[in-house]
Point group: C2
């Protein structure tokens, strides 16, 4: 049954706060009466388009974010571990190939977005848990195998990811995020009763629940529900 | 009874997110088993010392913050209204005189910090609710009258606020915030069992509660408790 509450999650696997937001929203897709739409996009394009700078350039902010991510990861039960060289992983290597691949997987997928969800998660696990590459075709393949895709599906998605069609699709998603007012990820756009509410980051879930008329049960709703 | 959980709230009345954090923490001082310490400090000095820039310089971020503050103010039940010219109020006029005055009020006060709390709140109400000045002695006097201080107390605090002793006290509090890792306000430092946990902003209360072993009841705990 289609819900009248549509929630779009714009994310990039290069962003650790996006991983937290993504997992929390995936957990709530069956708890809240919502229709969740995964919107892979390119954070580099959003930062450039919005004229924003990475927060980690301020030393005290960088130190705080490391601690904050560590505490939040534990609290949210997401196995987040910073890569050994975050600047290299995030800014030098980046996520353009990875997000084109996710976009291709989503483009091929019909009847839901389970593959998109699983491939995104496996890519996060590589860069933000296992300190592994996400730029090379072999890396994308390994993530997709773990996500349950067949070799044929992976081969097709890898080929598709380099086409102009998919490059444009990712550009368009990024542009759409900017038009919603994005200046970073995750950005979560709630469409309820013809109105739009945008939330940035992974720290507005309680407020979001209040705004869309749902109940916030913390970042691990299954744990709470099991105890009811 | 002194609690073993000491929570310091570093704030500046120029900062609207500080107002939200301040009110929420003041509400929890009798809900959680904590010893709350109000730490007036100077945001301008923290931003300079940390090499940070105001977030509102990125246009999409500025637009988002306006919306975010509006939603949070309603949800937290704090009568926050942006001044007609936020840049003038925050950056041109600033809060140095106001925070020296709050520091003087706190310095004079014995047996608690009720005056400090009330004067801070009335200053926030002026700049972040009523679009009124907080730089002139008359403005500080009006806020202090509303906060319940006598004319003699106000006169003494105004005189004290211009002394080197108070100027240094505010500088030292600001420096202490930087040494705790601040890059903006509010910054909340929890001291529990000899360990220190620092939280930036007004969006980590649920996580903070988890970290210090208390229960988060939302930003209006009295409302929740009244329904129990």
């Amino acid at each position: 049954m289609a819900s009248s509450k549509v929630i779009e999650v714009f994310y990039d696997v290069v962003s650790p706060y996006s991983w937290l937001g993504f997992e929390v929203m995936c957990r709530y897709r069956n708890v809240w009466n919502i229709d969740l739409k995964l919107r892979p996009a390119f954070l580099g394009g959003v930062m450039k388009g919005a004229g924003n700078k990475p927060p980690g350039l301020v030393p005290n902010k960088f130190l705080y974010m490391s601690k904050d991510l560590d505490r939040l990861a534990q609290y949210c039960n997401v196995p987040l571990q910073p890569p050994s060289n975050p600047a290299e992983a995030m800014f030098e290597k980046g996520s353009l190939a990875a997000m084109r691949f996710v976009t291709a997987v989503q483009d091929r997928e019909s009847g839901g977005d389970k593959q998109t969800e699983n491939v995104s998660r496996e890519l996060w696990r590589r860069i933000w848990s296992l300190d592994q590459d996400i730029t090379q075709p072999d890396s994308l393949t390994e993530a997709a195998v773990k996500a349950g895709l067949s070799h044929k599906e992976i081969e097709e998605a890898l080929a598709l990811a380099t086409t102009d069609g998919i490059k444009d699709k990712l550009k368009n998603a990024t542009q759409e995020a900017l038009e919603h007012g994005a200046f970073g990820f995750p950005m979560i756009v709630c469409h309820v009763d013809g109105k739009k509410e945008m939330f940035f980051g992974s720290d507005r879930f309680e407020l979001m629940a209040h705004c869309i008329g749902e109940k916030w049960l913390g970042p691990q709703p299954d744990k709470v529900q099991a105890n009811l």
